[in-house]
């Protein structure tokens, strides 16, 4: 059996992380807000943190469980952290050769292996440099080479790009993607950047408050987010409610703060949900239209909402609205100017029934 199966319960301070993971060969991204326990989970898999309960099996070998608890040095694992954490007294070559040497490879063979790994990440010219003499991106690539030089069964990357400046980050992300394609083992990558996850990973795992809340391929997750965090990460509005069939299909929205949130009218019956079921309804922010006066055309999903904040990316702006429902609308900069969008302004928000996607919760 290949891949990594783990069932862990780890306490760190007041936080408890409890998760059951099943990661096949390939790259799985572990996403979650700060403090959700991503790093704790990785360190526990590496054996660097004591788990209250641990069962870890990798490629058919038991790392933990059944009375076994292998020391980190005996787990076939590679670890790359946000900072390169290279050994400052060794050249890049000896940094990368350290792992093979530690695992008993003769000096010359270890150096050959290290040279090969460094060449694969484009550092063949800098073998003799000390870590202090290379850039942050180069150091991080050397850290990746060091982690892979022992041919680990599992590669753990803890926010590997988060400490890099934006330019270096995108270049290093591309290098990382290239190198990971050739790596046959299981890669677990923590990040809170959806771009990392979508460009590097085959599978996404969402960890919130110590628990896995959703797993799936990027396509599945983008199509059907199941928590507000996941939805916000993939840029969708997510509303919870009950499916009803009264004069057409609709979602009776779950009341927020005592107020009735109203209903979302759907264009057609959802494929796999029946009336009375709890459902999620996702709305693409680009499908939310904004008006300063009540529109004449009869969009059946219409609310008068208050602007809470506006963020701009490129030519588009995301307008966060609050009221009977919380919605994000994505509009052009021209619309922002024309509608005089600013905090506290009241606007009409309309969503066409055909733009609402409902699925079972």
């Amino acid at each position: 059996m290949s891949g990594l199966q783990a069932d862990l319960r780890v306490r760190r301070g007041e936080h408890v992380v409890e998760a059951r993971l099943d990661a096949p060969a390939g790259v799985s991204a572990l996403l979650g807000p700060n403090g959700s326990g991503k790093t704790t989970l990785l360190l526990a898999l590496a054996g660097l943190l004591h788990a209250e309960r641990a069962r870890v099996e990798v490629a058919g070998r038991t790392w933990a469980g059944d009375g076994v608890d292998l020391a980190p040095a005996r787990r076939s694992v590679g670890l790359v952290l946000a900072d390169p954490v290279l050994f400052g007294h060794l050249s890049l070559l000896d940094n990368v050769a350290f792992g093979p040497r530690s695992r008993g490879m003769p000096r010359r063979a270890a150096r050959d292996r290290a040279r090969e790994e460094l060449e694969r990440v484009g550092l063949g010219e800098l073998l003799r440099r000390r870590p202090a003499q290379v850039s942050s991106g180069q150091a991080q690539r050397a850290a990746l080479a060091r982690a892979l030089a022992t041919d680990p069964d599992v590669l753990l990357l803890d926010e590997p790009l988060s400490a890099l400046d934006p330019q270096t980050r995108s270049r290093t992300r591309a290098d990382l993607a290239t190198r990971l394609r050739d790596y046959p083992g299981v890669t677990l990558l923590t990040t809170h950047d959806p771009l990392d996850a979508l460009t590097l990973a085959d599978r996404l795992l969402f960890l919130e408050d110590g628990h896995l809340t959703q797993t799936g391929t990027p396509g599945e997750v983008v199509a059907r987010p199941r928590t507000p965090y996941v939805a916000s990460l993939v840029g969708l509005n997510l509303l919870a409610g009950t499916l009803v069939d009264r004069e057409g299909w609709a979602v009776e929205l779950r009341p927020a703060g005592g107020r009735s949130a109203g209903r979302l009218v759907l264009a057609e019956a959802p494929e796999d949900a029946a009336a009375g079921e709890q459902v999620w309804a996702s709305v693409n922010p680009a499908a939310v239209a904004l008006f300063s006066r009540r529109p004449q055309a009869s969009a059946r999903n219409l609310w008068l909402l208050r602007v809470e904040s506006v963020t701009v990316t490129g030519q588009r702006a995301r307008v966060h609205l609050t009221g009977d429902v919380d919605l994000v609308a994505e509009v052009t900069l021209g619309a922002v100017a024309a509608l005089d969008v600013q905090r506290g302004r009241e606007l009409w928000a309309a969503v066409k029934a055909t733009e609402i996607h409902a699925y079972p919760a």
């Binding site: 660097l48 670890l79 954490v85 530690s102 695992r103």
Partner: protein
């Protein structure tokens, strides 16, 4: 017109601060200058070749070298365990190792005598079963020096090791390095400056050791009379030799300190 280079106005420009500061400096400088002034420089060579001087210097060189070997061998792993261990006894061990820092050296000598003396807790059985006597031997000198010097080394190296990023040893572990390999090939090289500083402190303390040595090892020329004991013994019969010996110790200490400062310390 403005001055070519801007200088900050000192915030210490008051004589009520300067006077005590200058007295403090003078208090240290005057005896050192006096030592140099009273040294019989033309005859220095002759004085240094007197048997007391040569013997005691040689003994100091041998015993402090042996002491430093033991300090490194025992103190470095100890400092590492104190720096990383979260065992409940660690805090205790840390407190105990610092006791000799504040203990009057004579008391240390008495304590060593109670442990290793002919009727001591360990020394008694040692003599009865194996016929080994420790006190008043060169070995006793080394033990006295180790007792006072080890804490200086451990405290300063532990500080350096604690400053080492924990992730460094964690990464080493994931690369397959066991605790010993990580310690020897990663930790020690990375805290070398701290080790050098701690070694200088410990060595200086061992070189100057007097109280514990004279109590536990006595002052037998050629066997337990180290340079400080030699100075003290010679002061009455041959003051010039005592001065010459003192000047040599001063020179060696300053050289070691200067060498460290340029290389490792800032």
């Amino acid at each position: 017109m403005r001055a070519a280079s801007t200088r900050e106005r000192p915030t210490t420009g008051s004589w009520s601060l300067r006077v005590p500061a200058l007295i403090g400096i003078a208090f240290v400088v005057v005896p050192l200058v006096a030592l140099l002034a009273r040294t019989d420089w033309p005859q220095l060579g002759t004085h240094l070749s007197s048997p007391v001087v040569g013997q005691s210097l040689r003994l100091s060189a041998v015993t402090t070298s042996a002491t430093m070997m033991l300090v490194w061998l025992l103190g470095t792993p100890l400092a590492w365990l104190l720096a990383r261990s979260d065992h409940p006894l660690t805090a205790w061990a840390r407190a105990v190792i610092t006791v000799p820092l504040v203990l009057p050296p004579v008391v240390g000598g008495v304590a060593l005598l109670m442990a290793w003396g002919r009727r001591g807790v360990v020394g008694g059985p040692l003599e009865a079963w194996f016929g080994i006597t420790v006190p008043f031997t060169t070995v006793a000198v080394v033990m006295a020096e180790l007792f006072v010097a080890l804490p200086f080394y451990v405290v300063s190296v532990e500080g350096a090791m604690r400053g080492l990023d924990r992730r460094v040893d964690q990464v080493a572990a994931t690369l397959g390095a066991g605790p010993v390999r990580t310690f020897v090939h990663v930790v020690v090289p990375l805290v070398l400056p701290g080790i050098a500083a701690g070694s200088a402190l410990a060595w200086a303390r061992a070189l100057g050791e007097f109280g514990a040595t004279i109590t536990f090892a006595g002052s037998f020329p050629g066997r337990t009379q180290t340079a400080p004991l030699g100075v003290y013994a010679a002061l009455e019969q041959d003051p010039d030799a005592a001065l010459a010996l003192s000047v040599v110790m001063l020179a060696v200490s300053v050289l070691v300190l200067g060498g460290l400062r340029s290389r490792w310390l800032r």
